[in-house]
């Protein structure tokens, strides 16, 4: 539904080079890349805040390259919220409806506030809200417009990790509910893997790879992509049994894992590499998840070593240098990996 064709823009020393993207209706599209990759600039060009040097943007096949922002029907959410400080939360959310002369503003504002869980904040001023609350207001202000496309610029970049995790799952639910095409810019690969239907990895103003999260993670096209996305254990799966927590059947590798967290239907699962134990022999322990696997790769990361183990799917584990020597870990060696059910974090879709 959104087509970006050969967009280029020079900006001092930096330039976006020949960006080509196709974003589908209702898709959650993530643009992932390090700081300075040009992600935000690309998003702002899409929103129409700046003009491109060459190239065109289409919406539903119609060229919108030279439309001003107010006619594009794209809503923008900035990392640092950009709430109007002189307006109450309610007025902030109502702003777009008001300038467009819509009716029934109060009811619409109330409805979206309830959905996003900020109805108790409506009378407050932005400066009296926490970071997470502000970002929810900012998202509500964008979503209440029922935009064609929702543009999110590092939306969870200014809040702490716990709040970011919470906002993530809210965003996921909202996307499901509103079915709004979303373009989300982030430097956080975990966030990208969890939220994205598809991911575009950007570097130095160019797109390195586009694809679904699994493909980006399993088949990175370049060393850069591999280094950038390869350091987390993120899997997709669905609930298969409930017992003392739940059993999750993963999409790949014919593997089921235990978790202590609540699971509903389709889920994304993350396991931190430092939470996984590696052993030569299986031993009795409180770890409910035990797998056999083969070491595929060991990378020296300075403070620790990163070990990639194939247990049916690739699992990344951090171990100390001492452990590598003591267990004489090397490529091709068969090992056991274990992790507690409580180390399995679940994001419900």
């Amino acid at each position: 539904m959104i087509k970006i064709e050969n967009i280029s823009r020079r900006w001092g020393d930096f330039s976006l080079k020949d960006i080509d993207l196709n974003i589908n209706e209702g898709e959650y599209f993530v643009i992932l890349g390090p700081t300075g990759a040009g992600k935000t600039l690309l998003l702002e060009l899409l929103a129409g805040f700046y003009d491109r040097d060459t190239g065109d943007i289409y919406r539903h096949g119609e060229k919108i390259t030279s439309l001003p922002p107010q006619e594009r029907d794209f809503s923008f959410v900035y990392q640092d919220y950009m709430l109007f400080p002189h307006m109450k939360v309610k007025e902030n959310i109502a702003y777009g409806l008001k300038v467009n002369g819509e009716k029934d503003i109060d009811r619409k504002v109330r409805k979206i506030a309830i959905k996003i869980g900020i109805s108790h904040l409506l009378k407050r001023r932005p400066m009296n809200l926490s970071g997470g609350e502000r970002q929810r207001v900012s998202i509500a202000r964008a979503l209440v417009m029922a935009p064609d496309v929702l543009l999110l610029d590092e939306p969870f970049g200014s809040v702490d990790y716990r709040t970011a995790k919470k906002l993530r799952s809210i965003m996921k639910k909202l996307h499901r509910k509103f079915d709004c095409t979303t373009i989300h810019v982030t430097h956080d690969q975990e966030e990208a893997m969890i939220l994205g239907d598809r991911i575009a990895v950007m570097r130095n103003g160019e797109i390195e790879q586009i694809g679904p999260p699994e493909e980006i993670m399993r088949k990175p096209v370049s060393r850069f992509v591999a280094d950038f996305v390869g350091t987390e254990n993120i899997f997709h799966g669905r609930k298969c049994k409930e017992e003392d927590g739940a059993l999750i059947k993963l999409k790949e590798g014919d593997i089921t894992i235990h978790t202590t967290e609540r699971v509903r239907g389709k889920v994304t699962v993350t396991i931190r590499p430092e939470d996984i134990i590696l052993a030569e022999e299986k031993f009795e322990s409180s770890a409910r998840n035990v797998f056999k696997g083969t070491i595929k790769k060991i990378t020296d990361r300075g403070n620790f070593h990163e070990v990639l183990i194939d247990v049916g799917l690739p699992l990344i584990i951090y171990v100390t240098k001492q452990s590598v020597e003591d267990l004489s870990l090397k490529r091709g060696k068969k090992v056991n990996v274990m992790f507690k059910a409580s180390a399995v974090h679940v994001i419900n879709e």
Partner: protein, 307 residues
């Protein structure tokens, strides 16, 4: 490491100041100054061991007294004769001319200054430096020079004065001339205040507003302008105060009708200090009252948290 200056240094620095004040018999300055110094040394010097701010404050206080002294003495000597000024209809009329002239000049300054300030804050263009320099120029030019320059343009044979005069709008020795002179000197205060305000408004706030469907004009009036309310008020206040206090430019282009400063000058020259003093005090009382009230009112517009 915190810089430490010993109390002895402070006393050595204070001695000549206090000595001078004693010699000049300025008791009412000497006593509060002495008490102030002792209190400062006691509070900061003893407890924190850091005398830097004590010394800075003492020096700073001298400057404050320098402003306070003439005004206080003026009030002290002329206040009993204030009824002289109140009973002089020409003085009252002159003050009224000053107040209304400054008010109109400020309104014009705001009407034209807001768009200029916003453009300067948001856009870069060739010659922007020159425009900014020109805006500051009225602060640098001697005001008699400004008056003469304005007279060249707005005089009876002036490039603007002649056609406007034919249309019935005269500037020389007329109320519009006063407004022109006042506007000229107050422009930098109004425009610079507003420009600083607009520069502090994140352009992305306007971008968000536009992505929500507002055109640039709507974004300006609903987001940017409300956010510079404080600068708008303080700029207007500074411009207005500057306009009232203008003498040189006004006297040259429009000696009549008298503004308050012109009338005070005239009375001073023709009758003398004793006659000019009460009028000066009356003008000060009125403008200071308005100024202080507006300052307090503008406080109530809180500064918004910059997200």
């Amino acid at each position: 490491m915190r810089e430490k200056i010993s109390p002895i240094t402070v006393v050595l620095l204070l001695a000549p100041i206090i000595g001078m004040l004693y010699f000049l018999e300025l008791w009412w300055v000497l006593i509060p100054f002495f008490i102030f110094s002792v209190v400062l040394i006691y509070i900061y010097g003893e407890r924190k061991g850091d005398m830097t701010f004590v010394i800075f404050s003492i020096f700073g206080m001298l400057l404050v007294f320098f402003i306070l002294l003439p005004i206080a003495e003026l009030f002290y000597e002329a206040l009993p004769d204030l009824n002289q000024a109140i009973e002089d209809p020409r003085a009252l009329r002159a003050i009224l001319v000053s107040l209304t002239g400054a008010f109109i000049a400020t309104l014009i300054g705001l009407l034209l200054g807001v768009p200029l300030a916003y453009t300067l804050a948001r856009k870069n263009f060739h010659g922007k430096n020159i425009v900014e320099g020109l805006i500051d120029l009225p602060m640098v030019v001697p005001h008699t020079v400004a008056g003469i320059a304005l007279l060249v343009v707005f005089g009876r044979r002036g490039s603007l004065g002649e056609p406007l005069g034919e249309a019935g709008l005269n500037f020389v020795d007329a109320f519009p001339g006063i407004i022109v002179a006042m506007l000229f000197v107050s422009i930098p205060f109004i425009v610079n205040q507003l420009r600083e305000g607009f520069e502090d408004v994140d352009p992305r706030l306007e971008q968000v507003a536009m992505s929500l469907g507002a055109d640039r004009k709507t974004a300006f009036f609903t987001v940017s302008l409300p956010l510079v309310k404080r600068n708008l008020i303080s700029g207007a206040l500074m411009g207005w105060a500057r306009a009232i206090s203008e003498f040189g430019a006004v006297a040259i282009i429009a000696f009549y009708p008298h503004t308050a400063p012109v009338y005070i000058y005239k009375v001073f020259m023709e009758i003398g200090l004793a006659a000019a003093r009460p009028i000066a005090v009356l003008l000060l009382l009125i403008t200071l009252t308005i100024f202080i009230i507006m300052r307090i009112l503008s406080r109530r517009f809180g500064i918004y948290d910059k997200d």
